[in-house]
Amino acid sequence: MSIIDPWTERLSEYLDGELAHDERIALEAHLDGCAACRAVLDELHAVVATARRLPDLPPSRDLWPEVAERTRGVLPFSPRTRRLAPSWARLAAAAALFAAVGGGVTWFAMSRGPGASEVPVASADVPGSATPRNVSDRPRGTDAAVAELEQVLRRGESRLDTATVRIVTENLARIDSAIAQAQRALAADPGNAYVSRHLADTERRKIELLRTAARIVQSQS
């Protein structure tokens, strides 16, 4: 076989199962009589098999500290939202800050399933003497505070730019999602102190976000 054997150029497609039926039949007929092409096919097979066995190549060091340093103070918003006016940026920063952490840790605890009261990565944050709380243990007035602030926000919504409203809405939705997850987790595992504490934290963050939004609404008056 010569390197210009036209079938040689089709062997990769054959190997990958990408030839049309008729072409595959024809190539297999050719392979029946061409030991050289069979040898090439075996070699290509070996190349692909070797490629699939290649191990991952981790970085030479932990890159996170540098990534964290370079992203500090930068919010993960799209170019559109980064053109916000100062008050919007302030609100976005507040929203990001208040939406952070609680939901994620709640998710982690939830992912361990019912009965998972130990969270190794954050065990230092969960004192052994922590008293389990149920959803019903929420601070009094939480719902009222949320309702009042949401009302303020609704009344003042027309004074805000649509981009601002979108930021608030999106971040409230994220916080609400985290709250709902935590509530579901607590329903399945009422004694999970860790989830309970983060539910309370997340609700507190929601109130703080609403307060920030309300202050901005008032400043636009």
């Binding site: 150029e9 062997l11 990769s12 497609e13 054959y14 190997l15 990958d16 199962g17 990408e18 595959r24 039949i25 297999e28 392979l31 069979r38 090439v40 096919l41 075996d42 070699e43 290509l44 097979h45 070996a46 190349v47 692909v48 098999a49 070797t50 490629a51 699939r52 066995r53 290649l54 991952d56 190549l57 981790p58 970085p59 030479s60 890159l63 996170w64 990534v67 992203t71 930068v74 919010l75 993960p76 918003f77 799209s78 939202t81 929203a95 990001a96 800050l97 939406a99 952070a100 952490v101 939901g103 994620g104 840790v105 998710w107 992912s111 999106e170 994220r174 916080i175 999602s177 997850q181």
Partner: protein, 194 residues
């Protein structure tokens, strides 16, 4: 004549493990990170950094892969707001990494003729073998492939992307992707069998 399958024909077209496994857990992490949760982003980083670094190191072996991997995650953080859960986060991240690599290569002025015939480069790959270890051999041989052939080979045979996906990432057509893959495999075949 009765057609019969040859070894590998029915197994090797299966995709390799890919960073496209969408999970609810990851969706939540991404949502939290989009809201500014740095801890969620760190968890995403730790989950994906090895595969991103692996991709970077194999795609552009002539740059500092640690530094470029950092750049990928910084860019990912900056662009996180554009991620819409239409693809798996890992796939989005890899696409972003490929774009960054292509930008970097363009900035270095080394992207010219990536997909032009360069049999001299392929011969060079086939002519050197420095160790009997297959994996080490393969890494070194891949690093010597012409850029275009190496990029397609890494994305297809190592990462498990399909030709249409590769074409989209690299801005080439599917036929070019297929021909570059075959060139790369033929060159590496020569290397591994010497």
């Amino acid at each position: 004549m009765t057609a019969r399958p040859w070894p590998g024909a029915t197994t090797l077209h299966l995709p390799a493990e890919r960073p496209n496994q969408r999970s609810d857990d990851e969706t939540i992490e991404v949502t939290l990170a989009q809201s500014g949760d740095g801890h969620a982003f760190e968890r995403l980083y730790r989950q994906h950094v090895t595969r991103v670094h692996t991709l970077v190191r194999r795609m552009v072996p002539d740059v500092d892969s640690d530094e470029l991997t950092q750049d990928v995650f910084v860019r990912a953080w900056q662009k996180l707001g554009t991620f819409r859960n239409e693809a798996a986060f890992g796939t989005w991240l890899h696409r972003l990494a490929v774009n960054l690599m292509l930008e970097r290569r363009a900035a270095l002025g080394t992207r010219r003729k990536r997909y032009e015939a360069d049999d001299a480069g392929l011969t060079h790959v086939a002519a050197r073998r420095e160790t009997p270890e297959d994996a080490m051999d393969m890494e070194r041989a891949m690093a010597r492939l012409p850029d275009g052939a190496r990029e397609v080979f890494v994305l297809h045979d190592v990462q498990g992307y399909k030709h249409d996906e590769i074409a989209g990432m690299l801005g080439i057509n599917v036929g070019t992707s297929k021909s570059q893959l075959h060139r790369a495999r033929m060159a590496l075949r020569g290397h591994l069998t010497r």
